[in-house]
């Protein structure tokens, strides 16, 4: 059941990204281009997602286990540290360069375009470099 829910959630998440237009890097870049022909779409997407998300997290707060009886896994870190800020800083630059973040990147893999595989391969490499650096650190 956990697998079916995960697959379904991925499908619905992807459908939301397609419907919202967020799989199109041009629309994301148009939102980030405040000095150009600005497109407010991303703001509406966030508004819609956070509205429903807030209800879900309010419900989740009151539970120790999920509807399927598995423990709720909430983030425990609360500190705003250098790693959070530097990581988000680097992510923002990458996001601004191509207008693609991890969710749309995976959805676009389903389009079979060569461009997205270049991005995805580099993204996985970046994640791999992070893991190797972490292991050395530990």
């Amino acid at each position: 059941m956990i697998m079916i829910i995960a697959l379904l959630a991925g499908l619905v998440f992807g459908a939301g990204l397609i419907l919202s237009g967020m799989v199109n890097p041009a629309i994301v870049l148009a939102f980030l281009d405040v000095a150009g022909n600005w497109d407010s779409s991303l703001l509406w997407v966030m508004g819609g997602a956070v509205t429903i998300g807030s209800i879900a997290f309010a419900l989740a707060k009151r539970r120790k286990v999920s509807f399927l009886g598995v423990p709720m896994q909430m983030p425990t870190t609360t500190k705003i540290d250098k790693r959070l800020l530097l990581g988000s800083f680097l992510f923002g630059i990458g996001w601004g360069i191509a207008g693609i973040c991890p969710g749309p990147a995976l959805v676009l893999a389903g389009s079979g375009e060569t461009e997205i595989f270049v991005f995805l391969a580099a993204m996985l490499l970046g994640m791999g470099i992070f893991e190797i650096a972490e292991k050395k650190h530990r």
Binding site: S20, L90, G94, A98, S111, V118
Partner: protein, 143 residues
């Protein structure tokens, strides 16, 4: 490109709500946060019993275009960046989201939904850098 998708915020807000629904489903049934970079990044840890649900979720994302096309017409999507720029962007997105523990979904959607100060700070930083980067590329360097 489908003009109505671009100019009508209705699609954007509805699409956002659908994303919120997916977040709700994964959270309330599986007890998991729908942060894409975290779900993908967790695969590198190779923890037993923690792999297959991640693959199922990622498979859902990858299959969503095919599923969409089964019912509706897919709006035209074009990636205009060069291979070099895409590679650079991918590296920064991959490394940055892992170091910063989240991306647009984990911090932007989930974190803001639970009013996490950490996620709000992360979202301000990456969105701010997105604005700065696009400004520099398009209006200063004109690449």
């Amino acid at each position: 490109m489908n003009i109505s998708l671009e100019s009508m915020p209705w699609h954007a807000a509805a699409g956002g709500a659908v994303i919120g629904l997916a977040v709700a489903v994964l959270l309330l049934f599986n007890g998991r946060i729908a942060g894409i970079s975290g779900i993908v990044g967790g695969l590198f840890r190779m923890q037993k019993g923690d792999i297959s649900w991640r693959i199922a979720f990622i498979a859902g994302l990858i299959l969503s275009i095919a599923a969409w096309k089964f019912f509706w017409i897919l709006p035209e999507i074009r990636i205009e960046s060069s291979y070099g720029m895409l590679a650079l962007a991918g590296l920064l997105v991959g490394y940055g989201t892992r170091l910063g523990s989240g991306c647009t979904s984990g911090h932007g959607v989930c974190g803001m939904s639970r009013r996490s100060p950490r996620s709000i700070a992360a979202t301000i930083v990456f969105m701010g850098m997105g604005f700065v980067t696009v400004y520099l590329i398009r209006h200063v360097w004109s690449i």
